[in-house]
Amino acid sequence: MRRISYCDALNEAMAQEMERDPTVFVYGIGVPDHKKIFGTTAGLLERFGPERCLDTPLAEDTMTGFGLGAAVRGLRPIHIHIRVDFLLLAMNQLVNMVSTFTYGTNGRAKVPMVIRAVVGRGWGQGYQHSKSLHSFFAHIPGLKVVLPTTPRDAKGLLTAAIRDDAPVVCIEHRWLYWAEDDVPQEPFAIPIGEGQVLRRGKDVTVVATSWMNVEALRAAQILARHGIELEIVDPRTISPFDESLVLESLAKTGRLVVADNDWVSCGFGAEVVARAAERAHAALKAPVRRIGFQFTPCPTVRALENEFYPNARTIVDTVCDMLGRAPIDTSGEDFYSHERRFKGPF
């Protein structure tokens, strides 16, 4: 199998589905320009022409409704946003219209639309370019929500999203774009609603979303050297959320940490904890822990960003505390810094 990047995996999913099905098209602000949405739309204009790879006016709510209207009459739109924050302008169409359209026809209408939204982070993105918002979408019936972590999942879940007859929101963390991995060349779909165990371990279950899986894996390496084995569960799809992997893991470990790439208050982390509290109460040997953004707007300067975002160190500290172990000195450890790859702007 070949190794390709997460970014290329997204690109390949779209290109292959556009090839396979002439009703698929991509659109959004800047989608065909030379920056190609961080590279993910590269080649689509050239291969499929401006009729299937379209730029649009700046009009998020309307262009979301546009996708809905196109979807219910036979096209399969993929709407792309370079920041998830812009979907705040589209909440009306997304929640009032898109999520309810099929229901209003008593199940008759298909709404095969995909919304791809990039989560920005770090390097001074600031409070209007760094939200996550996936809990908003997961709160609403009638929408499906996927957050691929690995390049393989990026291709497989985006392909599944495109083929789905329901609206699917795909949340992509900017820092994952450079990740490389084995990804099958041929088109394939990963069923929406199935999680994945990224690492086996017996001591503590970490349920992580999106980028936080990378941090969790790093934390697991460090903790393993201190005799603590994390099991890492990546739900991949948060709505519908198949809790079974989490419950199975808890049956083994009895300890739960949720590391979500978002604010914790009423977030997806709360949902995971609630499922555990409802369905794995007896298995829980210790209070659960939630890790997420600090409850402040996202600041711009690096010094404050570092306080705002959780990382592998946060997970290490939390796990040690949970197990009643002395804190591990992580000062010698190498933590991920996107600055090695990413020297702004954007």
Partner: protein, 332 residues
């Protein structure tokens, strides 16, 4: 030559009759709503079309069957004018399983996508963008279906109207933007909401076809719409059609509200003098139809509406568990 003229007259009379049938159907359906609403079986908020029927009827007659439309919560006239599905309509108002939405939608969310009434929405202006997308799909897929979206003079306040108008113009999408201008958003007049003298004047700055009319005459509206549709197709761009009208009843509900103080009953009386149903009936008579013919036609429609109401009243409610049906499309 004579034959041609006779043929033409016949065609016009056929059209006039078709328009009258639709007008009468809509009016009569709402008459029955008024008659039965107090029974409290139709548990859905009614935004009555009464007084405004000429616009959806005229436009839908021009659109024909091969077309898709979107409407607001003031959906009765557009829904019936487009689909004639009075059975699915009443079943839905009564919340029955056999209603077009299986009881899930009610008056504010009528949809019969097979007959081209795609949806109606309770969020002002929110069907407009969706119509742009459908018009785009119809254009791209070459379905030959025209698309139209109906909305009020309140909807043009909303950003979604402007964004949609701009998108349709710049993307050169054939689509009718049909504004039913009754001068009111709930109880608030245009003066307090519009920072311009005339919306049509502003829209003329956009790259689209613009037409206005205040006749309240369904046949005239039909002609304007037909002309606009032909131009939309030929020029591959949208049209904005502004039609003045008058809402006979309260914003929501089945009663008049001239005692509320926000409008003057004399305006109503002036409009009543040009009531679109009476007007079209006079036209039929002038065109050679006899009163007896018209009465027969009215009787048949009345029968159909009455039967639809009766049927809906007898029909089954959705079964337990139906709540969970249809969130996502289910292949059958």
């Amino acid at each position: 030559m004579r034959d041609q003229v006779a043929e033409l007259a016949r065609t016009d009379l056929a059209l006039a009759r078709r328009i009258y049938e639709l007008l009468f159907l809509v009016r009569r359906a709402e008459d029955y709503i008024i008659k039965h609403y107090h029974e409290d079986e139709m548990k859905t908020p009614m935004h009555m079309s009464m007084g405004q029927e000429a616009i959806p009827v005229g436009v839908c007659a021009a659109l024909g069957e091969k077309a898709d439309i979107y409407s607001s919560y003031r959906s009765h006239a557009p829904f019936l004018a487009k689909t004639s599905d009075v059975e699915g309509f009443f079943a839905e108002l009564y919340g029955r399983a056999e209603g077009v939405g299986g009881g899930k939608g009610g008056s504010m969310h009528l949809a019969n996508i097979d007959r081209g009434h795609m949806c109606s929405t309770a969020i002002v202006a929110s069907g407009i963008p969706v119509a742009v997308g459908t018009a785009f799909a119809n254009m791209r897929l070459g379905t030959g279906r025209m698309t139209a979206t109906f909305f009020g003079d309140g909807a043009v306040d909303e950003g979604n109207f402007w964004e949609s108008l701009n998108a349709a113009c710049v993307m050169r999408i054939p689509l009718l933007f049909v504004c039913e201008d009754n001068g009111l958003a709930v109880h608030t007049g245009k003066r307090q909401r519009h920072g311009y003298r005339s919306i049509a004047e502003v829209v003329r700055g956009f790259d689209c076809i613009v037409a206005e009319d205040s006749s309240n005459d369904a046949q005239r509206i039909h002609d304007i719409a037909a002309g606009a549709i032909a131009r939309c197709r030929a020029e591959r761009r949208p049209a904005f059609l502004l039609f003045e009208c008058y809402r006979y009843l309260e914003h929501v509900g089945i009663n008049p509200d001239f005692d509320a103080g926000y409008r003057d009953k004399r305006d109503y009386e002036a409009y009543l003098a040009k009531d679109c149903i009476a007007l079209q009936r006079r036209r039929l008579l002038a065109g050679g139809a006899t009163d007896a013919e018209i009465k027969a036609l009215e009787g048949a429609i009345d029968q159909r509406v009455r039967a639809a109401v009766e049927r809906a009243k007898q029909a089954a409610l959705p079964e337990a568990g139906q709540l969970f049906h249809g969130i996502f499309h289910e292949t059958d």
